[in-house]
Assembly symmetry: D2
Amino acid sequence: MSSTFGTIFKLSTFGESHGVAIGGVIDGVPANIPLDLDAIQAELDRRKPGQSAIVTQRKESDTVELLSGIFEGKTTGTPIGFIIRNADQKSKDYDHIKDVYRPSHADYTYDKKYGNRDYRGGGRSSARETASRVVAGAIAKQALEQLGIDIVAYVDQVGTVRMEGTPDFNEIDNNPVRCANPEDAERMETYIREIRKEGDTVGGSIVCEMHHVPPGLGEPVFDKLHAELGKAMLSINAVKGFEYGSGFSSIAMKGSEHNDLFNEDGSTKTNFSGGIQGGISNGMPITMRIAFKPVATLIQEQTTLNNKDELVKMQGKGRHDPCVVPRAVPIVEAMAAITLLDFYLRNKAVQL
Amino acid sequence: MSSTFGTIFKLSTFGESHGVAIGGVIDGVPANIPLDLDAIQAELDRRKPGQSAIVTQRKESDTVELLSGIFEGKTTGTPIGFIIRNADQKSKDYDHIKDVYRPSHADYTYDKKYGNRDYRGGGRSSARETASRVVAGAIAKQALEQLGIDIVAYVDQVGTVRMEGTPDFNEIDNNPVRCANPEDAERMETYIREIRKEGDTVGGSIVCEMHHVPPGLGEPVFDKLHAELGKAMLSINAVKGFEYGSGFSSIAMKGSEHNDLFNEDGSTKTNFSGGIQGGISNGMPITMRIAFKPVATLIQEQTTLNNKDELVKMQGKGRHDPCVVPRAVPIVEAMAAITLLDFYLRNKAVQL
Amino acid sequence: MSSTFGTIFKLSTFGESHGVAIGGVIDGVPANIPLDLDAIQAELDRRKPGQSAIVTQRKESDTVELLSGIFEGKTTGTPIGFIIRNADQKSKDYDHIKDVYRPSHADYTYDKKYGNRDYRGGGRSSARETASRVVAGAIAKQALEQLGIDIVAYVDQVGTVRMEGTPDFNEIDNNPVRCANPEDAERMETYIREIRKEGDTVGGSIVCEMHHVPPGLGEPVFDKLHAELGKAMLSINAVKGFEYGSGFSSIAMKGSEHNDLFNEDGSTKTNFSGGIQGGISNGMPITMRIAFKPVATLIQEQTTLNNKDELVKMQGKGRHDPCVVPRAVPIVEAMAAITLLDFYLRNKAVQL
Amino acid sequence: MSSTFGTIFKLSTFGESHGVAIGGVIDGVPANIPLDLDAIQAELDRRKPGQSAIVTQRKESDTVELLSGIFEGKTTGTPIGFIIRNADQKSKDYDHIKDVYRPSHADYTYDKKYGNRDYRGGGRSSARETASRVVAGAIAKQALEQLGIDIVAYVDQVGTVRMEGTPDFNEIDNNPVRCANPEDAERMETYIREIRKEGDTVGGSIVCEMHHVPPGLGEPVFDKLHAELGKAMLSINAVKGFEYGSGFSSIAMKGSEHNDLFNEDGSTKTNFSGGIQGGISNGMPITMRIAFKPVATLIQEQTTLNNKDELVKMQGKGRHDPCVVPRAVPIVEAMAAITLLDFYLRNKAVQL
């Protein structure tokens, strides 16, 4: 009942990891935006499996087919439907977990909720669904570009390895971790390789910044810009926490330290506010940080529950990510772009 | 455009801090629930100003008047309208900030968005609006009680002072900080008094737990239970961050540490998941933590911007909270209750 | 669960006919519109009981109190909350129907749906709720006036008496029937007086026209302009049918007669389309007609059912309308205004 | 911005008549319903072109491909995505209308709204979109069958030819008109053949009945059952009017004639209410009637406007329906089913 995100620019997705296809409908696309179709596929390629040695080696081509809403190279204003066929529909790879609830996966909760279970690779709960978000996000990004707004995300922590160097946005896609600093990236990559050797996994975090956002985006009181960004990020698989601006570090700060004093042009000397005041953008860069838990699928034996209330041994196998954050970077950007474009369009109704 | 929260159990609020009244409409209230009206007022009293020496000494009686939807002591299923009159409508108290944007307040962003400014105490951006949420939350709590679900929140950090003792829920309302441990509460209270003497303010954090939530609540993929709880919390004034279960600490953890192993009854040995898997409750306690920034209104001189693009001196005055978290506890509980009841009702449509 | 109408300009109402008050929240009001508060009350007065000899003689002052969203005479862009106190809360007038389901009223269906019954004057099912719509509609009208759009409605049939003369919009409020032709109005008034003497009631119909609506309003495919107008009208108490443009008469027409041929300026020679093509306004006047059933409350004895499954005699009493259409004219205009303003605001998001 | 219909059971559609494909996402499908996939295709076949001599002879195979949400023959509760490929994507057939706005089509209004024009067969404004509704409706019907609810629609008027015989639901699909009486069907068929010979088109009307609907469905005050059914029907291409129960005929009736008196079992002796009181079903059959205008595409020369503000001659060609109602019958049933199932699911939240 909740496969739709957004109010005006609205994405509805469908599809399971091992069904026929995943895809979606994007409604509320502004008319007359020239679309670079290769750029959409390129975003999908940033998310796809098998792109480097430190991500899952599953083979999914993830080719998007756009079905409507585009005519003579431009958006028409009508909905864009799209599908991505699932290359791999072999359910027998999952026979060993058919009756077993994997620890810290959604197997148990889906079964309790729906009274049935699509055990093939997690079904609807699989992060495969996020490919549809990347398609919509890539289109939103192209609209935002026309407005001069840009969005960038990068990995700033993997397990215990934090980014310490200065971020250089040009470096992000030059390393498989998608860290914004090449030396830190190397340390992170080494760390992930070690973890993988242990058959283990590790968490991480992503920073996302939005630049040149005009003041005025965000809607009081419930749909505050950061509240909706928070929801957008928390809806991504494996996310456990969200903060913007000073975030959790603001707890220990005093007001006299934390207040962002103005310059004469309306900008502020500091940006603890993270570009948002009272839920509305103030023209400063919007900054946020998102925490991802370690992947639940281990290549280690675990004891778990089956659907007969028995504790059983299970052995993880398959081709899983030791750490999700490298592939999550384009997903974070996509959800940020969808949210921001939606608020841009909503804001047009503030005046007659 | 966003004064409504919820999908089935739905709250729409209105009102500015110094207008005639604030209030709201609660739609989708399940029928035939006996309502304890005193318990609703009691929740408002937990939030109201002047309740202790460490909160603002403003006098607001915050008496709610329920206008509809209740007949012969029970909910009828039709919407509950309510208002809370504003005792203090004197706008002259705010003449000194009429043309001035207070740092880290929403004055600047509202003006940029709407092209006008209700300077009286922050207008719609004031946390006074949250009193309406407490009314709806108190009603939601009574519905959840019938289902055996209970919600409790407490302060676990004020500035640099963290709660270190064992939480005892019975102690929460026995101290003005609303900390769950009496000794920690004393340390926090002392700290707040010091901060206030400096004319300064400080941040804090609140933990919220939900017990006896049945498995199955939460909707994939965008309206995950924790995503909607996150939005609910981030929509509260001054909130800067949200985490659930292991939260930000999961970044540095390995999957082998973080996975919650099952017991035979479907419960888990640990609860890093915070009671939610794949966005759906699993029957374990739901746990979350919310970060609040320091109050932006200081009793210190600050340099700021006016609406003629000039930097000017301003002197905070008035009766403001040195730290919001004691009064935010009932707000957090209210938003959690509204969210949970809404998901409970949504879940009824999963089967024919 | 459905007390909200609109997507951007959004009205949520509450209240029963004999509760403390009715009222609502209007969200998405565009900012900076000067509001004539007397004009709002004047619309309510057009709807209120006791205004003429042919409507119910109940005494309700229907005074609206606006609680928020207006500052220094203009809308701020934040929600407008309002209440109308119920003068008459005496429930004992309704003791005689406490256990009885009145024929063709909503007593039976509310009881079946909610498992309870607010028997005082129909409770939530009473047309009293429409007073809240008139408040929101009066505000929407003032916004539309700024855009040069005007809306007018009039009675074109009462029972078997159809309007035959030429409509003159200036005459509508000069007669108690609100017919647009004074001679027809007299015939209708005489007819209503006769019906009332019989203790009976009669149906009627209202025509509504919207002028100077710019082309482009309305959203394909489900939220077509006429589909939403239809829903708006059908949601008014006692409405049984809706048609726009040629309406039901188009059934018997040929395409060669029905097609509206263009003039060079984009206007059309005829207007069978009723100002709407493909769900989108084309710049021609929007025309629609709404059918109202006879009032179900009779001053005659009827046999009906009680809540013990027994057939019993009941005698209507009280002060009811013999025909609803005179008082329904401002309600029709209000719902048309709310719908049109909402589509105007939605249409702003079509382009970046 | 409005390609979604429904609140819980929710259909979002995409696609133009001559794009790659049309399709949609159905969210909120109740879990564990066994689906007969052939029955879905059979409904599409009732709507498809070329099925008889009196409908358009265009060749479209209209084969639906279901992509998700079904596992082991049953719905899982996750969204069902589907596509129907467009067989005919040749846009050159439409070169003659590329710059020309066809009279009483949506060409002009789409261009005014969006600032662009997909001239290929009407693009998004084409009734081809309704094939997606039929897919969702066929699934809704199967869910409603499990509840014992059935829906039937038939043609009761074509141009000036009204159905006069007794309706026999078994006859509906035995004649190409889909009239419920075989002799009337013949008269209608003859009439349509004559109209087509003239190169002309004609309007018609459809009656729809819903049987065994339990009392309690429908939501006061804006989402009344008949208001939402009205919107559903009015959103279908070419619909100009909607009435339920006594409809427009109630205008001329007296209350003493119109009131539906109860039987002891809660049923009523008459059914002028059309199964709905106060917007809520009362357990009696729900009845409604929908008016369709004559098809705007004629095989006759017409003078019309081009996009250079010039009046030009155009000659209709192609394979169009002389009368839409025979093919609209399954669309009416589909939208009724979608609406009814949605209200059934919404009603589950009335009690805790």
